[in-house]
């Protein structure tokens, strides 16, 4: 089908001509871009602080992580007290290549131990971030009250041959009490372990769901579908294959922000699709300050 649509598009562009637009003024406003997802289950509260960039800009072409701003004042406050998060930067043990040179990947940002500032379901918190020369960014977040439990999770597994490819599929069902505004994130990872190969082959997918996806007493995901790695060397032997499932009860900003990012990504390169506006709950900045509750990881063995 995509061939046909591509052909239509190709036809329309048969005599098309591309011209770089040299003078087009896209006004740029400096903003902080902040992401923080807080949960009562987490042991550390983390905040990422970036800056936005002009649209028409030159960026490094190599892989790597985008450096964060390390001179931010990050304050988190609850009903009765306020804390300041501290900058940290530690190597993850992973590497990326820059001009052919292996460089370490760092985990960085601002953090504080949850023991110093426990997050409580149902409570509202305020995050304030200021960096010299940038507008101050402030957002509020109410952590969802609804708890999630593995006892409410059901899954439907299937293996499917499609176009000479083996697909491992999983539908996740979560028993809920329908509520007018409830939002969830289902995360499913497909993992393959091979003998003589140290690393797990992991593929992860997320689905954001709302009460619109409830059928009866269940919130039902769309089908998670993973392509089984089949073309591996003969001396590698598949020893273990399994899914990991995790359910998150998320608040509305979590849902709207990530939904806008996913949809924007999906529409990249489609000139006829309307762009998706990026949600933010920050006043004076971009990004999101969101909350969730989550289940422990549920493992579903295939082999």
């Amino acid at each position: 089908m995509k061939n046909i649509l591509s052909a239509i598009f190709l036809f329309m562009l048969l005599s098309a001509c591309e011209t770089p637009v040299k003078e087009y003024n896209i006004p740029y406003e400096k903003s902080l871009v902040i992401e923080s997802f807080i949960s009562p289950e987490d042991s550390v509260i983390k905040v990422s602080v970036y800056k936005n960039e002009q649209v028409l800009i030159k960026l490094p072409s190599e892989s790597g992580t985008v450096p964060q701003l390390n001179n931010a004042l990050v304050e988190l406050s609850g009903a009765d007290h306020k804390v300041q998060l501290q900058w940290y930067r530690i190597p993850t043990g992973k590497f990326y290549s820059e001009n052919g040179v292996e460089k370490p990947v760092f985990d960085e940002g601002y953090r504080i131990s949850a023991k110093s500032f426990p997050i409580i379901a149902g409570e509202t918190y305020t995050l304030k971030v200021s960096v010299p020369d940038y507008p101050e960014a402030i957002a509020n977040c109410t952590v969802p009250l609804n708890k999630v439990s593995l006892n409410n999770v059901e899954t439907i597994y299937a293996e499917k041959n499609e176009n000479s490819t083996l697909l491992q599929t999983l539908i996740v069902k979560y028993r809920v009490n329908p509520a007018p505004e409830s939002y969830y994130n289902f995360t499913v990872s497909f993992l393959q372990k091979f003998d003589k190969y140290p690393d797990l082959q992991t593929t992860t997918a997320h689905q954001l769901l709302s009460n619109e996806n409830i059928s009866g007493n269940f919130l039902i995901s769309n089908k998670f579908s993973f392509t089984e790695l089949m073309n591996y060397p003969a001396d590698m032997k598949l020893s273990k294959e399994y899914f990991e499932v995790k359910i998150y009860a998320i608040n509305k900003p979590f849902y709207l922000y990530n939904k806008s990012l996913i949809e924007a990504k999906r529409n990249e390169g489609n000139p006829f699709a309307e762009p998706v506006l990026t949600y933010t709950n920050f006043s004076g900045g971009l990004g999101v300050f969101a909350g969730y509750n989550s289940t422990p990881i549920l493992t579903i063995k295939i082999k």
Binding site: N52, V66, T204, N258, K265, T278
Partner: protein, 803 residues
Amino acid sequence: MTKTLTVILQLLGLFYSHFSFSQSSEKVTLNGYVKENGSGELLPGVNVYIKEKGVGTQTNKYGFYSITLNSSEIVTIIYSSVGFQTETRTLKIPKLLELNVNMTPIARELEEVIVKSNATEQQKVSENVQMSQLSIPIQQMRDVAAFLGEKDVLKVLQLMPGIQKGSEGNSGIYVRGGGPDQNLVILDDAPVYNAYHLFGFFSVFNGDALKSVQLTKGGFPARFGGRLSSVIEMQMKDGNKEKFHAEGGIGAVSSRLTLEGPLFKNHKASFLVSARRTYLDLLIRPITKTNDDDSGYYFYDLNAKLNYEFDNKNRIYLSGYFGKDQFHTENVKTFETSKSGLSWGNSTGTLRWNHLFSEKIFSNTSIIFSDYKFDISNDNINSNTTPSSEYHLKYSSGIRDWAIKFDLDFLPNPEHTIKAGLQLTHHRFTPSAILVKDTDSGKYKNETNPINAVESGLYLEDIYKPWKSLQINGGVRITQFSSNEVSHYNFEPRISTAFMLSNDLAVKASYAQMNQYIHLLSNSGTGLPTDLWVPSTSKIAPERSWQLAGGVAKDFSERNLSITLEAYYKRMNRIIALKEGSSFLLEDGLGNITKDKDQETPWDKNVTIGDGKSYGFEFLLQRKTGRFSGWIGYTLSWTSQQFEELNFGKEFWAKYDRRHDLSAVGIYNISPKITLSATWVYGTGNALTLPTSISPSGQFLQTTDSENTINYTNNYRSRNNFRASPYHRMDASIQFHKKLKRGFERNWTISIYNLYNHYNPFYYEIKTRITNNPATGSPEKERYLSQISLFGILPSFGYSLKF
């Protein structure tokens, strides 16, 4: 039944006449048909004017007129119409007079002379109560320079004020801030649901088969309904009743042939068949065909009409349109064969019966059929396995209508023209129907249930002339829509007035409410066949609009010029749009249905509801006939929309909001043998959405694939926050006409689209290219804004021959 109705109507007529003319005793009714000399084609919109009384009327769309006068008077009756020599009859009115008149078309060589001599009798825009209505003579449409030489009525309409084109080369039209879905396109009473060939580049209407085209963009009379923004009414030619006639043409994209003539010796019946087919498939085949692959595209359309005149009171017309676009690909390998096809097309049929109840009461009854269908097929056979695996898919969507329509024109006296009618339409929507046969998974069939709905409209309108200087068209339309989910009733008041300030100058005003019960889901704006018609449901209410318009119309009779200046304000409520992030329905819907039934998303979940408003000023200076004819149209307008789920609920400029829109069209007959034509258009760029910054984001939902990569997201802060560069283009054509022996006439046309080769924006995209940093030598990703344009200068030629 007919007799009973006749009696009732005649009694009503008597009452009305008596009521209106209580002081007068001897009244007679002059009535008849106006035909084209030489072909017998009935002529709509002919002005019938009684010189001594200063009163007049117009022929209806079936060429019938009726006017009631005092008897025993000597009167001069003037029949005038654009493109025809004026006919004058002076006579003493007897008690009852049936007067059929033949009008002679103006030959090119005589045009200037005759137009000048007829100037005072020509129909004036200032005398017509109807405002916001555009008509372009078919001959003028044929003379306008055309894209690839294909004469296209919708593209000519795009050149008029208040009507805007969508994207480059596209036939879709936007009327006073309304979307293409808000236009009712009617061919011989039958709605045409997808009026485009070749993904919107050409309209389905073959100019050779058309008799008249009229677009109403405001001040809607009560007889029109069902859409918010415009009614485009097209009539096919009836067919020449006097002699056999043929016309054929060869163009850069397609060839066409029209045959018409009498069916019997008594000249009471005639036929018309007109066909057009593109040969793009043959032209591009050398490029597309390889050993394994083959693909192609073509479209065709066929218009056919029969009519029979039983007697002066009864005529029957049977007309139809059939058109199809077909796109196919084929891949044949040793063990695997794969074929895909995409086709779409309209079929319409109309059976009409004109009946004259009396000299004052004309009726038309139509049975109407319209069917739009979009099909996809995909067949894959793999014989590399045992047994061979097969996959077959058939998908279709569409809309089918059956309707009955009854219209009555009642002309009791020169002061009143009453129109009443009823239309009942049964819609059958098939948003998606599918059949899948898969030998891997076993046969799987899933056919979505069609949705049935009934839409009806009942109207009454009266064009009332209380004084010579004042005309009022007041009316009401009562509409109803019901399906198994919902039922809606609406009352739509309509009023138009025209007040003559002087002989050639009138001020006009109008108000109209409209409701639209069916909706078009489209996010391409390019007239793709995947656009889907759907009904109002419990979640999607009918769309509604009201429009207030006022203006001035001035005729300069001596120069055969007219000027109209109009201002309008239009509100559109409950209009629909696709939610942010929704992409082609086809891609989503088909993938979901064929692979994972449980992932199907109902179409109404992708839709959001909001409001829109549009206001502006329009100017039109027009010269319809003469050696030099054409028009200048200018529109200054603002169109905005507001949806709770779009742009964070804030109001935004509509995509086709266009502050300035200017068209200048000139057609000059240098000599009887040569016609020059040029068109220049200018328009403010479309509103478009560009990101205002980029930022790294999406850390929480990062997947393994995206780990350790610099992943920037575009930050779109508001919808349609930028403007494309202005659109401007000039087209020109030259035609060489020559009369040959035995009545043959040939015509060479050379057209140039985009004469000065200006690349206009089709869309913009932010792209990335790799460059080297001059300082470090390291590669960099440079993001830049790119304008994609479709057509530069495009010359084309055409040849036609007729006799």
